[in-house]
């Protein structure tokens, strides 16, 4: 039982990172129609930036906020400088994002090096509840993610901006007729998704070491989660992230860890073929206006 609870917290902390990345992918796809392949590199840069700022002597959580700012700015530049030119040709945007992911990886290698990097455990505490030992950092990761998910969820389902966002995802030109500045929403969503990736990266390096090549692993998981949930469907991404995190956690703990990645890939192929709009109902991308 104790092991089960510990395993659960561990799985949830890994799932948190997956959820953050999946939410970003799903939001950006829903509105901009681009599957951003470089989103995993955005996360990696979030982690590396955190490592860098911590190395400069900053507190981990200050570094985390700075990393979010850095990656948010990166998202802004990528959207305004690259992806806005391919909005009417999502395939080109997708291929361009592959190029961007190669560039970002190797720029990081160039500036730093290709070896794995880690930060000292930011909390360095183990909470003991009864017989259960919980590593504090893992619990904090789960808590932060829960807060971010809640903010995003309420922002989308309750606020005026969220309503306008949902309308824009459903039908861009009609949304424009309502007076909604859809172009600005596209940029906004791109930046928000990037900030989530930055946060995910920072939390990840708080849990375990990462290399400049972690992005390609994490992007696959992000795709699985966003597709399972339905592209453009944030609630779906959260649910799918939890499911995947648990499956992964338990398969790593009790099953065949070397096949862990294969599960998600097979799940993804099956979903794409059977229900390309996602399990929980999503979109196949914005309608051309």
């Amino acid at each position: 039982m104790e092991i089960l609870i510990q395993q659960l917290v561990n799985s949830l902390s890994v799932a948190s990172v997956t959820i953050l990345i999946g939410m970003g992918i799903t939001l950006i796809f829903g509105l901009a129609g681009i599957v951003n392949f470089a989103h995993g590199e955005f996360l990696m840069i979030g982690g590396i930036a955190t490592w860098f700022f911590v190395g400069m002597g900053l507190n981990f959580f200050v570094a985390l906020v700075l990393a979010m700012v850095v990656v948010g700015a990166l998202g802004f530049v990528a959207e305004r400088g690259l992806f806005r030119f391919t909005l009417d040709r999502p395939m080109n945007g997708f291929i361009m994002s592959i190029g961007l992911s190669v560039i970002l990886q190797h720029v990081v290698v160039r500036v730093f090096d290709e070896f794995q990097k880690s930060t000292p455990d930011p909390l360095n505490t183990v909470w003991v509840v009864g017989d259960v030992h919980i590593i504090a950092m893992r619990a904090v990761v789960v808590a932060i993610t829960a807060v971010v998910v809640a903010i995003t969820y309420f922002g989308i389902s309750r606020s005026r901006y969220g309503l306008a966002l949902r309308a824009s995802v459903a039908d861009q030109s009609t949304a424009e007729l309502m007076g909604i500045p859809v172009r600005r929403y596209v940029t906004g969503v791109f930046v928000y998704g990037s900030i989530l990736a930055g946060l995910g990266g920072a939390l990840m390096i708080g849990l375990f070491p990462i290399t400049p090549f972690v992005g390609s692993v994490i992007i696959t998981r992000g795709f699985v989660v966003s597709l399972m949930g339905g592209l453009g469907n944030v609630n779906g991404a959260v649910l799918a992230g939890l499911v995947l995190g648990l499956v992964d956690g338990f398969s790593a703990g009790y099953g065949y860890p070397e096949w862990t990645d294969a599960y998600s890939l097979v799940i993804m192929i099956v979903i794409l073929v059977v229900r390309p709009q996602g399990l929980l109902g999503g979109t196949l991308g914005p309608k051309a206006s």
């Binding site: 459903a170 039908d171 030109s173 424009e176 309502m178 909604i180």
Partner: protein, 244 residues
């Protein structure tokens, strides 16, 4: 007072030219219609006016201000609001959310709430189906919602693109009375595009007859109704001769 002026408008989709040298006006509180057969370029004029399509040439003036080429969201903010062809209700959003979206450009929250109530009292169906998804409404109910959603912006001019499209005859009659109410109750001018000539002729004061992207006749609606050009456009030359 002239509210909207279109001068020498040319439009095209890529290499495909649609409108040639279209000039027209809509006065304050006036109901104006553009009639013409399918493919004549009626909707394209509306897309240019509402900002969904950038004109190739020509000028559009609204309330004394040059608005040529302004994006649709800016036009809506100015009070030029279009209920698009095919209604384009947000199918996954509730009726009420659809109405709220119509008022996106407005800042007065209390006014918006009051207007939602006003719409619900005027269109009963919007009150009874308040929390239903827009996609579950019938075609006629969706058309009412589309018009009400447009009115939520408190437009100075409401542009209706084929409001009778795909509606049963009894609903077409209802659209007719709603169009009149847009002007009388909500103080907006109406620019209407219709393929259903009888509806257009019944509600409008003035009209423009469009053929192959050009205006071929215009004037008070009674004159258009009597013109042989009108019959010819809809039934071909033979029938126009037979009818004389």
């Amino acid at each position: 007072m002239t509210l909207l002026t279109v001068e020498h408008l040319y439009t095209a989709y890529g290499a495909v030219k649609v409108n040639h040298n279209v000039s027209m006006t809509v006065g304050e509180g006036e109901i104006v219609t553009i009639i013409g057969p399918n493919g004549a370029g009626k909707s394209t004029i509306l897309r240019a006016i509402s900002g969904l399509l950038k004109p190739k040439q020509g000028a559009i003036t609204f309330d004394g201000r040059n608005v040529t080429g302004l994006a649709a969201d800016r036009m809506a903010g100015l009070g030029v609001v279009m209920a698009p062809e095919g209604r384009k209700i947000f199918a996954d959003l509730t009726v009420r959310e659809n109405l709220k979206l119509g008022a996106y450009a407005r800042k007065d929250q209390s006014g918006v709430d009051a207007d939602i109530e006003l719409m619900e009292s005027y269109f009963d169906i919007l009150a009874t189906k308040r929390d239903a998804k827009g996609g579950t409404l019938s075609g006629g109910q969706q058309q009412m919602l589309a018009i009400a959603r447009g009115l939520m912006a408190r437009p100075r001019i409401l542009i209706l693109d084929e409001p009778s499209l795909g509606l049963a005859p009894v609903m077409v009659k209802e659209v007719r009375s709603v169009v009149a109410a847009v002007r009388d109750k909500f103080n907006a001018a109406v620019l209407l595009v219709e393929q259903n000539a009888s509806l257009a002729l019944a509600v409008s004061e003035r009209g423009y007859l469009l053929q192959h992207g050009q205006i071929v006749a215009s004037g008070p609606i009674e004159e258009l109704r009597e013109s042989s050009l009108m019959r010819e456009l809809y039934f071909g030359e033979q029938s126009a001769q037979a009818g004389e």
